[in-house]
Point group: C2
Chain length 119, copies 2
Amino acid sequence: MLKQSDPLDVLFAALADPSRRSMIDRLSRGSASVSELAAPLDMSLPAVQQHLNVLEASGIVSTRKVGRVRSCSLEPDVLNQAQQWIADRRTLWAHRLDRLGMFLTEDPSAVGIGKGETK
Amino acid sequence: MLKQSDPLDVLFAALADPSRRSMIDRLSRGSASVSELAAPLDMSLPAVQQHLNVLEASGIVSTRKVGRVRSCSLEPDVLNQAQQWIADRRTLWAHRLDRLGMFLTEDPSAVGIGKGETK
DNA sequence: AGAATACTTAAGCACATGCTTAAGCAATCG
DNA sequence: CGATTGCTTAAGCATGTGCTTAAGTATTCT
């Protein structure tokens, strides 16, 4: 219990692998079985399943077993978190430019001077 | 030369580490030196520098050395690629629902039936 | 029932990652 | 000049990741 990791760690890590992204890609076109996901992937079935475990752990993909076939489907809402994190940093960065503009044209006291900010 | 990896691999991998995200966070508020980045990070300076290398390799952060200080700044445009990839899959997934709707209300031949699509 | 299908588990191995400490080096400061 | 500051390199090590093959298990087909 010493090491509980941020959901974003798991999410971004899941997206960092090309095989997993291609699986997501396939699922974005519609749900599929494990072997359908494996088919285009030049690797063994167990390897695919391990990737699938990673995707499930991140929440991007959910699965349920019907008979002997496991059906996998995308949970696109989970991608929101990642998209939002990125969007937020971009917003912050844009705001930084605002402050710099403020500094250049008006009120130096409104900017964090002497903290490496003015380069 | 056998193993050139997708920029998205590197980008998402860079984002998958909490220390690196906190560095990006700091830089989204304005550029900083290496030791300023290291300050809040309960780890050695060399460790921070290795994270910085990863960030630079991904293109998210650029640095230049002035005197004995290295100044680091965010390249937020690089985040576009990641954001776009996510947005694209979400769009595809939404489109999948369109096709399903088409199937339910109108033209069955327009949908991929019998390929695991109808569950 | 027996054979085929569709996963699933387990074990092992090569290589990558995320640190560490110990030195080293160039740019100021006193 | 010699000392301090700010980074940089190198080496080593524990753990994690991405595969593999071999051997299951549960369903469905014949």
